[in-house]
């Protein structure tokens, strides 16, 4: 079947493609209904990667946070019309037992497998009318969950993935640096899955006030040290991530563990002397896998959790054609509020 698709072909330039969908025996056709734009999508949109990387990526469909409905499933796992979220991190069946062997490790998993495909990174994303997708990587949206809110499943799964990276006892005091969407989702999610105290650190007082953590601090506040943070998550990214990481290094207890979640395009300078002196450990996390998505959906069934997450949903932007799609990217670029717009595809 032919379907419309928007591919980025050069910085700030989308082209309309008509793709022919050919379903493999283990795939279903999904009509994309809702999606959200991620920071990585914005980097591709602006061309904020090195030229050679972009040369390998373009042309490509962006977007990896999406929900849709089943149009055709010859495997019979899903009914036509059933709402699903799409897990963007996929591993082809014959690649599960590769030489890297991280897929079955609880602290790592499929999202660290070098053979994995990730939609809108090394695989076409969901900026299209329809996608043929492996049924193993489609998850049914519970009936009490609005499909547009389900677009947050990906970010919640990333928070869950970041949590399982460390094998925590459950009572540690955790600091989350970053007053953006991921910082909000991580600190909110920790309130539901972790018993210890949750502290957030950021620069925007108005945004911090909206956080669900036990305590909020402006960056640089000397009282952060009194919280005796054993664990810290950096959710800042970009050019300010060095500042955040160095503050964490200063504020965390001796022997503390630091998890880095933000992407900085440039190499950044961090205080390695203090890392050594305090015996700190740094962990990297990226993306999430199907199990994390399943846990995210379980959380999202909880109406209280839904109520905590839904303030992040700012506006619903209807995408009738490619000009609306351009507008949505430009609007997200200028978005300074806590939250993101959801794109409703009406192609």
């Amino acid at each position: 079947m032919l379907g419309k698709s928007f591919k980025i072909v050069e910085p700030r330039r989308f082209d309309l493609y008509l793709d022919d969908l050919v379903c493999a025996p283990d795939e279903a056709v999904v009509k994309i209904e809702y999606a959200a734009i991620c920071k990585a999508d914005l980097r591709y949109y602006l061309g904020a990667r090195d030229k050679r990387t972009l040369g390998f990526k373009y042309p490509m469909n962006l977007l990896h946070e999406a929900a849709g409905s089943i149009v055709l499933d010859k495997t019979k796992r899903f009914q036509v019309g059933e709402r699903v979220v799409l897990v963007p991190n996929i591993i082809l069946k014959d690649k599960h037992d590769c030489e890297h062997c991280v897929c079955r490790r609880a602290d790592l998993g499929e999202n660290y497998c070098p053979n994995a495909f990730f939609a809108s990174s090394n695989y076409n994303g969901f900026a299209r009318e329809y996608v043929n997708y492996p049924v193993d990587y489609l998850l049914k949206i519970p009936v009490n969950l609005e499909p547009r809110l389900a677009t947050f499943t990906e970010l919640i799964s990333v928070a869950i993935s970041a949590y399982r990276r460390l094998n925590l006892k459950g009572d540690e005091t955790i600091g989350v640096w970053g007053d953006g969407v991921l910082g909000y989702i991580l600190s909110t999610t920790l309130r539901y899955i972790h018993q210890g105290k949750i502290v957030v650190v950021g620069k925007d007082e108005d945004k911090l006030r909206q956080f669900k953590a036990h305590a909020q601090y402006l960056a640089g506040d000397p009282k952060i040290f009194e919280e005796e943070l054993q664990i810290a998550y950096e959710c800042v990214g970009g050019r300010f991530s060095a500042e955040a990481i160095n503050e964490i290094i200063d504020q965390i207890v001796v022997g503390g563990r630091i998890v880095l979640t933000g992407v900085a395009e440039e190499q950044i300078g961090i205080n390695t002397r203090k890392i050594l002196e305090k015996g700190l450990s740094l962990y990297g996390v990226t993306r999430s896998n199907k199990n994390d998505f399943e846990k995210a959906l379980t959380l999202l069934v909880d109406e209280k959790y839904q109520a905590d997450i839904s303030p992040l949903l700012l506006k619903e932007l209807v995408i009738n054609d490619i000009t609306d799609f351009y507008r949505a990217f430009e609007e997200e670029l200028g978005n300074k509020r806590l939250g993101k717009n959801v794109l409703r595809f009406n192609l």
């Binding site: 032919l2 591919k7 055709l72 695989y123």
Partner: protein
């Protein structure tokens, strides 16, 4: 029920190809009619499909339905000598098996770029109004000439639309329109909406899309091939 009637009775005389009708021409590994049928077959609101086809191509069509696993086709109907007769044959076939208020979505097999949105809007509007036509506003100025040599008039562009398909109707209304036309010996209409208008009924407009164009000439075929860029660009 919502039933699609796909018209595949044309011979494609304007294409120059003599060995097959235009709807059976292959475009990137699939005949045009299969591209069209797949859109309807995968549409969740379409319950069944009737294809009106040239009698000598019915077997070829059966083979294609099997090969491409098009499952909703319930009726294969022999085409008539004219478009009007083809639609009338479909109406006759469907009448004993369908309800009067079932929606009939009539579509050209050679408009493969019809979208689910257009079909959904047709169904919703046909249920509400009884008869709808898919149109796009005319971006070109249209001139009217009677003798083909000089302009008779230049109608106001903002009042002009280009008719596409689908055209969708409540079955009872479509049947009535065709029966009246036959009774009045009006047998060569190219447009079912005109027949409904002749009944004194209103026909509402549904927005179409420029890409939902009809493949009638080699230029159109070239355009179709140009716009279908197969998505084989994944970095593996």
């Amino acid at each position: 029920m919502n039933i699609a009637v796909i018209l595949a009775g044309g011979t494609g005389s304007r294409m120059g190809i003599v060995d097959k009708p235009k709807q059976f021409i292959d475009v990137y590994g699939k005949p045009i009619i299969v591209h069209t049928l797949e859109v309807f077959d995968n549409h969740p609101e379409i319950d069944a499909i009737a294809v009106v086809c040239l009698s000598e191509w019915l077997d070829d069509l059966r083979i294609l339905l099997r090969k491409y696993e098009i499952n909703k086709v319930k009726w294969l109907i022999e085409g008539g000598e004219t478009r009007q007769l083809s639609v009338y044959n479909a109406v006759k076939t469907l009448t004993p098996e369908c309800a009067d208020d079932d929606v009939i979505v009539v579509h050209d097999s050679v408009r493969p770029l019809v979208t689910h949105k257009i079909i959904s809007n047709n169904i919703a509007a046909a249920k509400q109004y009884g008869a709808v036509d898919t149109v796009v506003p005319s971006v070109d100025t249209i001139v009217r000439s009677v003798d083909g040599e000089s302009i008779k008039e230049v109608p106001l562009r903002k009042e002009l639309y280009l008719g596409q398909t689908p055209q969708s109707f409540r079955l009872s209304l479509l049947r009535l329109a065709h029966e009246k036309a036959r009774a009045e010996n009006n047998l060569n209409s190219t447009d079912d909406c005109q027949l409904v208008l002749d009944l004194g009924e209103e026909v509402h407009l549904v927005p179409g899309e420029k890409l939902n164009f009809k493949i009638t000439s080699f230029d159109d075929l070239l355009l179709l091939k140009a716009v279908i860029k197969l998505g084989k660009t994944e970095m593996l």
